[in-house]
């Protein structure tokens, strides 16, 4: 009896489902405008970088105020990782830094914008993030001290380890 009733309920659900709803009715389609604030990925070629810009000098001031307590004075490291320097990568025990390992400069912008300051992520303006990115690159001598970082200049910075990577499965990417 209960099996029969289940069949009846199922048949009803199927027949009315086709008319009333195409989905389990679990929500509403998300508006692209609602996705936009979360869709902040930046590609190595700079695709996705927002308008704006900043210089190492501007970055230095923000750094002293919001970053130095963890990353140390002049980005030399403190309770958290140093952001300048780094010995040549030799093997899996090597310490990976921005200057000795990261292949793309745009990753610095992406990570600061997403995750920093650690206790207050997403509180920096895009200009502040550009300035901090410029500051870190300048401290590493990867750009000149007066060079502004913006959507055009940042992707052009060639990181020292850009060619240090092997693609494991070239035919599957």
């Amino acid at each position: 009896m209960s099996t029969l009733r289940s069949f009846a309920a199922l048949a009803l659900a199927l027949s009315t489902g086709a008319v009333c709803a195409q989905t389990p009715n679990l929500g509403r389609p998300i508006d692209p405008a609602d996705i936009a604030p979360w869709d902040i990925s930046i590609q190595p070629d700079g695709t996705g970088l927002p308008p704006g810009g900043g210089t190492p000098a501007q970055g230095a001031r923000i750094y002293a105020q919001k970053c130095a307590m963890c990353h140390g004075e002049n980005a030399k490291g403190g309770n958290n990782a140093p952001l300048v320097g780094g010995a040549r990568i030799a093997n899996m025990d090597s310490v990976r830094t921005i200057a000795n390992f990261w292949p793309y400069s745009t990753t610095i912008f992406d990570f600061i914008r997403r995750a920093m300051p650690w206790q207050q992520p997403r509180t920096l303006t895009d200009n502040e993030v550009y300035a901090l990115t410029a500051y870190i690159l300048a401290e590493n001598k990867l750009i000149r001290d007066n060079e502004s970082m913006n959507p055009e200049t940042l992707p052009k910075v060639k990181m020292p380890n850009r060619d240090g990577f092997i693609i494991r499965f070239p035919d599957k990417i």
Binding site: I89, P103, T107, R114, K172
Partner: protein, 160 residues
């Protein structure tokens, strides 16, 4: 490219180059029973069972050793065997009560073979120190995991 793709999940090779971030997990298997924490209750019959997986297709074969890789027996695969899916394998084993080392190796339908530990250490290198557990320096390790069985029946972890 994200921080984690750029930095964390890019395994460094012995020549100082690194694999660029990739998702594919290569053919791998591990024994889940017996395993660490279990104590075998005296000599006799046990079922060795575990999981095999390949990011390149279906598992085609799993071999199991109870003597650290000297001799092997083919395990049965539990149906259905699906592509890129955990595949349960099992093989009966008579424990004679002496020390034993259990390990498994898997093959997939694309012809890939799970490397031995020696092979993957040669290809990827190995840490000279014990890394902090959060360091994740052995991403994509797909060599065997080996369990030792002591005469007492205690199961432990060994490199073999």
């Amino acid at each position: 490219m994200s921080y984690y793709e750029a930095r964390t999940y890019a395994p460094i090779l012995p020549n100082g180059k690194a694999y660029r971030f990739y998702f594919i997990q290569e053919v791998k298997s591990f024994i889940t029973h017996p395993s660490v924490g279990l104590k075998l209750n005296g000599p006799g019959f046990y079922e060795i069972s575990g999981i095999a997986y390949s990011g390149a297709g279906r598992i085609s074969k799993v071999m199991v050793s109870a003597d650290g890789g000297k001799t092997w027996a083919q395990a049965a695969l539990q149906e259905p065997v699906q592509s890129k899916a955990f595949t349960r394998f099992r093989v009966p084993w008579r424990w004679d009560g002496g020390p034993a080392v259990l390990q498994s190796r898997a093959w997939d339908e694309s012809g890939n073979v799970q490397p031995t530990r020696a092979q993957i250490v040669a290809a990827r290198g190995q840490s000279a120190r014990t890394p902090p557990v959060t360091a994740f320096i052995s991403q994509h390790y797909n060599g065997p995991t080996s369990w030792s069985v002591a005469a007492s029946g205690e199961v432990g972890h060994v490199y073999a």
